[in-house]
Amino acid sequence: MLQDSRETILNGLLNAAGERQVLLANNISGARVEGYQPKDIDFGIVMHDLRAGNTNIKATLSKATVTDDSPIVLEEQLSKMYKNHVTYVLLTRINGQAYKNMEEATQAARAG
């Protein structure tokens, strides 16, 4: 059960980081469009929902998507995107480690 909730949270966060990359990419693209409002994902809301056991990630992401009224600063969006990229890579590695552990446990059970 503990493994399940950990996996759900990891997958949820990975989904959120991927979706955030899409939103930030749109912000960078729309930087020169008059009246374009940048969007972002509030990870606090995502984390709160995932901890509460909410498995509907699409609903969580739409709830956590926030629109900013301020004009787009290209450098700010790029730095946000880079930080999120690092988070994404870190999450894929943690997820990969979890799968590897699972694989090893299965093999050990078979051998035993």
Binding site: G18, E19, Q21, V22, A25, N26, I28, S29, G30, A31, R32, V33, E34, Y36, L74, Q77, L78, M81, Y82, H85, Y88, V89, T92, R93, I94, N95, G96, Q97, Y99, K100, E103
Partner: protein, 155 residues
């Protein structure tokens, strides 16, 4: 991973738009000495989001059918930007007294183009900055996709 395709589609649309903007600025600069030429400025707008490749894969994974036509006709997926319209600056250019010019009017004046050289340079610089930002976005996406594909290998 699906979202990564969308970023690449968005980037490709936006790169195309920025290239078009550079094209318009180059056209204006090239015609700076063409009598009567009016400067053109592209007006950018957010592109409507078509069904992306990743969404189609999701539909297939959920067992929903995708009409083959929709898949074949979906030539331009993803969001991003597009050139919505082209604004032509209607202001008059400077009147130059060139009585021997073939385009001179009865009084011997020729209307020069209304292209503002420094303004065009700034427009081009802005387009190049955006173009570079979008390219770095593509690089990040490439690295992230690679990481996702090698999830268990890199852990």
């Amino acid at each position: 991973m699906g979202g990564m395709f969308e970023i690449l589609d968005t980037a490709s649309n936006s790169l195309k738009t920025e290239r078009e903007c550079m094209g318009y600025a180059a056209e204006n600069v090239a015609n700076a000495y063409t009598p009567g030429y009016k400067a053109k400025t592209p007006v950018l707008m957010a592109k409507g989001r078509n069904q992306s490749f990743s969404e189609m894969v999701e539909h297939l994974a959920e067992g929903r059918e995708i009409p083959l036509n929709a898949m074949l006709l979906n030539k331009n997926p993803g969001s991003g930007t597009m050139v919505g319209s082209v604004a032509v600056d209607s202001s008059e250019g400077t009147q130059l007294y060139l009585p021997n010019h073939p385009l001179a009017n009865a009084q011997g004046y020729v209307e020069s183009s209304n292209v503002n050289g420094p303004a065009e340079s700034i427009k081009m610089l802005r387009a190049v900055t955006s173009y570079k930002a979008i390219l770095s976005m593509v690089e990040m996406t490439k690295a992230a996709s690679k990481e996702a594909l090698n999830m268990t290998k890199n852990a």
